[in-house]
Amino acid sequence: MIYVAVNRQDLRRYDLEAWIHVHFYKIASIYSIIEALAILAHIAAPSGITNAIFRISMLIYWALLTPSFYELSKGFLMIYSRGSAYSHIAENIRERLVRRYYSKAMLARIALHAVIVIWVVGPIAFITGWLYGWG
């Protein structure tokens, strides 16, 4: 069945990932001002409290940007694979595209996992530095 999202409620049923991305994006947009204030306090008045606020706010901001990063990566990889990976198209068309762009489709699937691992390295490094006093 071909199903097209026409509004936000439909989007949730049609593509849950996209729905999560839309909401996290909106929250991140507002939260970015709080993040900016936390960075400003950390730079202007360095202390234990402002450092802790900065660290926690960075982790929250990272979490809010994660769905956007995921969708953005998928979008670029969909373009790279000529639509053979991560596209919402009829299965018979996708099968044809995968046959034609097999190596690109495979590479796109591996690359998504690779970029997610790289993305997750950020907060791990950040928390490690914080816990061991390197940061």
Partner: protein, 69 residues
């Protein structure tokens, strides 16, 4: 239209900039001491990117640009 485009340009500059810079700032905290000098400029850039993302996002909505479903 040109005004709205410029607002969205700055908004997306902050959005994509935040995504790249937050990762760089997080990883840069593990840099060895002489390289740690990079951390402050990165933090300052993230501050600018965050402000662009938030302020121009709100500006776009206030100007009635957001009419999505």
């Amino acid at each position: 239209m040109a005004g709205a485009s410029r607002v969205m340009l700055f908004h997306y500059l902050g959005y994509f900039g935040s995504m790249i810079l937050i990762w760089l700032v997080m990883v840069a905290t593990l840099l060895p001491h002489p390289m740690r000098i990079l951390l402050k400029p990165l933090e300052a850039l993230l501050l600018i990117a965050s402000l662009l993302f938030g302020i121009f996002g709100i500006l776009y909505v206030m100007r009635g640009g957001h009419r999505g479903g």
